[in-house]
Symmetry: C2
Subunit: 461 residues, 2 copies
C-alpha cells in the first residue's frame, strides 16, 4: 500500500471553466459540437493518470437573459452520457463520471445507462447524482414550477436507493451461459427489486448483468444540510465548492463524522473540492494569464453570471461598483449562494469584484500561482483534513489543463502526492473504494457459515 495520495478529477467543460474561455486565442471555440476536442482532452487526462474525467450537466439553457447568454458558450454542448460513452471507446483506464439529475429522470433509465457504461468501459463509470432547481429546467419537463428543496432531496434519496437496488438485480455469477445444458442464468441469482416507495414503484429486474464495479461509483455535490445528510449516507465521492481552508476543513470533518456515525468507513467517502488553477512559471506569469481571461468578460455577462449564482436574484439594477445586496429568502441551492455573499462581506467586494472573482471558479477555490504555490496549498488541504483530492477545473481548454499537467503534476509527484502509473483498472481501484459485494451473496455466505450444511432455498421472484 503506497502512502496516501491525491485523487484527481479532470472536470471537462466545453471551452473551459472561465466564463470568457471561449474567447481565449488558444481555446476551441466550437468545443460544444467538437467530439475530437473532448477525445483529445480525455486522452491527455488519461496519459497524466487522472482518476477520472468529470462532466457537469443542466437539462436546459439556464440563462434566459439573451444579451448575456448570446455572449457566452453556455447554450450548446453534448449530452454527458452520450459523450462519455463515446469517450469510453477512445480511452482505456481513466474513470468516467457524468452528472445526471434525479429530478426529471426515472431511476430505471439511470441505473441502466450507468450499468451499460460500466460494461462498455470495463468498470470505469461513475454517477454524479444531483437535483435540478430552477424554472428553466422545470419548464422543459411539463412543470410550471421547479420542485421544492425538501421534495427534491427526498426524491433524490429514494431515487438513489432504487438505482442501487436495480444494480443488484443479478448476482455477479448469475449468468453461467452454459451452452451444453442450455442454462443461461441461474434463477436463484435473480433478485427483482419490487420497490414500492413514496416517489417510485419499480419492480425490476434491471435488464443488464451486474457491472464490473458491482455498482458504478456514486458521486454527489450537495453542500446544503439535506445534501450533506444524503451524501454522508450514500456518496462515495463528494464534489464540493469551498472558498477557504477553514470551510473545507469544517465540511470535511462534518462529513467524515456523519459517515462514521452511520457505520460507514470514512475513508470510503472521498472529498474532492473543485479547484480552478491558473498556473504560471512565475507568479507574474500566472497573473498575466488570469488577467488575459478576465479582460475578456463583458460586464453584461459578469452581472448576469452573478445573478445566476445568486439563484436568480437580479443584481443588474444595483450599481456595479457598489456593495452586493443581501439575499432574499429562497429555496434554491441554499448554501452556495450564502457562501458567495459571505465572501463579498469578508473581503468587502463590489458587484464587479464579486463577478470577476466567480467568473472562473463559480464559487470554487481559485488559485493563481506557481506550481510550487499551488502544490503548497493543495498539500495543506490534503494533509490537514480539508480534502482527499481535487476536481481540477481548468480555466480554458486545452492550454489550462496542459499547464496543470506539465507544471503542477511534476511538482506533486516530486512530493510523492500523486501517482505516476495507474495501480488498477477500474474507477473504484483508482479511488481506493472497495467493490461492493452482492447483498444476497453476502447473506448466503453468512448462512453457510452459521449452518454448515443448509438446504438453500430458491429466492427468484
Amino acid at each position: 500500500m503506497p502512502t496516501r495520495q491525491f485523487k484527481l478529477g479532470a472536470f471537462l467543460m466545453q471551452t473551459g471553466h472561465h466564463i470568457a474561455a471561449w474567447r481565449h486565442p488558444d481555446a476551441q471555440a466550437d468545443a460544444g459540437v467538437n467530439f475530437r476536442h473532448y477525445a483529445d482532452l480525455a486522452r491527455r487526462a488519461e496519459a497524466a493518470k487522472f482518476d477520472a474525467i468529470f462532466l457537469a450537466d443542466a437539462v436546459g439553457v439556464r440563462n434566459r437573459d439573451i444579451p448575456s447568454l448570446s455572449r457566452t458558450a453556455r447554450s450548446d454542448n453534448f449530452e454527458p452520457l452520450t459523450l462519455l460513452s463515446a469517450l469510453a471507446a477512445v480511452t482505456e483506464r481513466i474513470g468516467l463520471i457524468a452528472t445526471v439529475s434525479t429530478t426529471y429522470n426515472e431511476p430505471y433509465h439511470v441505473a441502466r445507462k450507468f450499468a451499460s457504461l460500466d460494461h462498455i468501459s470495463g468498470g470505469r463509470s461513475g454517477w454524479n447524482l444531483v437535483t435540478s432547481s430552477g424554472e428553466s429546467e422545470a419548464q422543459n419537463f411539463s412543470r410550471a414550477e421547479h420542485m421544492e428543496h425538501a421534495t427534491r432531496y427526498a426524491r433524490a434519496a429514494e431515487f438513489h436507493d432504487v438505482v442501487l437496488g436495480l444494480w443488484d438485480s443479478w448476482e455477479d455469477d448469475a449468468f453461467v451461459r452454459d451452452r451444453d445444458s442450455g442454462v443461461y442464468f441461474t434463477p436463484e441469482k435473480l433478485h427483482p427489486l419490487h420497490h414500492r416507495g413514496d416517489h417510485f414503484q419499480v419492480r425490476g429486474p434491471l435488464n443488464a448483468a451486474r457491472s464490473p464495479q458491482g455498482r458504478p461509483v456514486v458521486v454527489q455535490a450537495g453542500a446544503s444540510l439535506a445534501g450533506r445528510e444524503l451524501a454522508a449516507r450514500t456518496a462515495e465521492v463528494i464534489f464540493v465548492a469551498h472558498q477557504t481552508f477553514d470551510e473545507a476543513q469544517t465540511f470535511y470533518r462534518d462529513i467524515k463524522r456523519r459517515a462514521r456515525d452511520l457505520g460507514r468507513d470514512p475513508d470510503h467517502v472521498k472529498i474532492m473540492p473543485g479547484i480552478f488553477p491558473v498556473v504560471g512559471r512565475t507568479q507574474a506569469e500566472a497573473e498575466r494569464k488570469f488577467a488575459q481571461l478576465q479582460d475578456l468578460i463583458h460586464p453584461v455577462v459578469g452581472v448576469q453570471l452573478l445573478t445566476n449564482m445568486l439563484g436568480g436574484f437580479d443584481v443588474s439594477g444595483y450599481p456595479v461598483d457598489g456593495p452586493v445586496p443581501d439575499l432574499p429568502e429562497t429555496n434554491a441551492g441554499k448554501s452556495r449562494q450564502q457562501l458567495l455573499v459571505d465572501l463579498a462581506r469578508r473581503e468587502n467586494l463590489s458587484i464587479r469584484d464579486l463577478y470577476l472573482r466567480i467568473a472562473g471558479a463559480r464559487g470554487h477555490q481559485q488559485i493563481v500561482g506557481t506550481p510550487q504555490g499551488i502544490a503548497d496549498q493543495l498539500q495543506q488541504w490534503f494533509e490537514e483534513e480539508g480534502a482527499d483530492g481535487f476536481n481540477i477545473m481548468s480555466p480554458w481548454f486545452p492550454g489550462g489543463l496542459d499547464d496543470f499537467i506539465e507544471l503542477v503534476l511534476p511538482e506533486l509527484r516530486r512530493r510523492g502526492l500523486f501517482r505516476t502509473e495507474y495501480e488498477g483498472r477500474t474507477l473504484r481501484e483508482h479511488l481506493g473504494l472497495p467493490r461492493p459485494p452482492h447483498p444476497a451473496a453476502t447473506a448466503r455466505a453468512q448462512r453457510l457459515q452459521e449452518q454448515p450444511a443448509p438446504a438453500l432455498a430458491a429466492s427468484a421472484g
Copy 2:
C-alpha cells in the same frame, strides 16, 4: 444519380436473432456484456457498406416466466444509446439507429441524446420511435398498468413533434462564435419551442446546436392503423414485419399513398422489412445450418416465446402439437399477433410448428436458401413495390452476418442492387433523404423573395 439500390440495415441483437443463437458453437455467448463483440460487428457492417446498424430495445425484462427466461439470452444487454455512442467512436461512415420508446421517456431527453449522437458521429444518428406495451415495462416506471393503445399513439405523435421542434431550437448558422466581437450566437436565430400540448409542455430551447443532419433520421415500426397513420406523417424509414409478398406490397402501397396524400414525397419514406436470412452455398447447406439452430430450442422456451409473441396470451396449456387457439380481444400490439394466427391458419401449423417458425424471425420474413435464391426474393420485393430495402436480422453473430456479407452481398452487387462504396457521409445521404432546412430560415428566404428589402424583425424569445 445511380440506379435505385437497396437500403440495408444490420439489425444487431446480442448473440443473434434466433432464440437459441447463444447456444450456437460459433456465437459469442456473453455478447450482452461484450463491447468488443458489438464494435467488431459494427466495423464488419461498415466495411460491407450497410446504410446503418439498428438496435432494438425494451425497458425491462419482458418475459416473467423464469424457466424459459433462464434458458434464453434475453435478460442482459447494453442500453442502446450508450452502446451506439461508443460505437460512433469506433466507426466513421455507417448510420447508427437506436430504438427509444416514447411511453416512459421525456422528449427533451430524447431530442438531446440523438442530437448529441448526431454531433458525435458527424451526422449518422437515427431514432427508432416506438411505444411500449406490456406490464413488465410499465412496472419499472411506477405504473401498475401499461398505457392504452390509443393513448400511447397520441402521446407518441405529440412526443415526435416536440422532439422535432427541439431539434430546430437553433438555426444552422446561429452559432457564430466570434471571439473579437464577443458574440457567441445570433439572438435572432434562437427559437425556443414554447410547446403546450395535451401530454407535454416544453419551453426549450434545446441546449445543443442544430445537428449535422439538421434532424436525426426518424424511423418507425408500427403496423397497426394508428402506427401507419403516425408513420405516414412522420417516419422517414419504416421497419416492418411481413410474412408474404402480398402483405408487403399492400403495406408498401398503403404507406406511399398515405404519404403522398399528406403532401410528402413518397420516396422520402423508406420501407425496410426485416429479413431473417439463413445462407448456404447450397439449399441443403442452408437447411442444415437452420436445423442446427432449431434443434437448440428447448420446448419450454418455444412455447413461452409464442405466448409472448401473442401478447401474453398463454398457450402453455394447449397441446404443443395441436392447433393454435384463437386470440382473445386485447389492446397490445394488435396487428402483429393476428398476422401470426393468420399464418398458422394458412399453413395449418401446430403450436410447435409456429414457435419453430418464429423462433428466429419473430414474425419477420425468414429465408433459408442460397445467395441466388435470397437475392431473387429480395429483388422481387424491391422491384415490385414491396420494399425499398431490408433490415437484416442475422440468425447468430458473427457467423450469420458474415454469411450475408460474404455470400449474398456479392450477388446483389453483381445485379447492381447494392453499393460498393458509400456515396456520402451522413445517414441521410446513405438513405437518399434530404437534409431538412430550418423552418425559420426557409420563411426568411421566402420573405426576402417576396419583399426585396424588408426590415428583418428580431424573433428571439
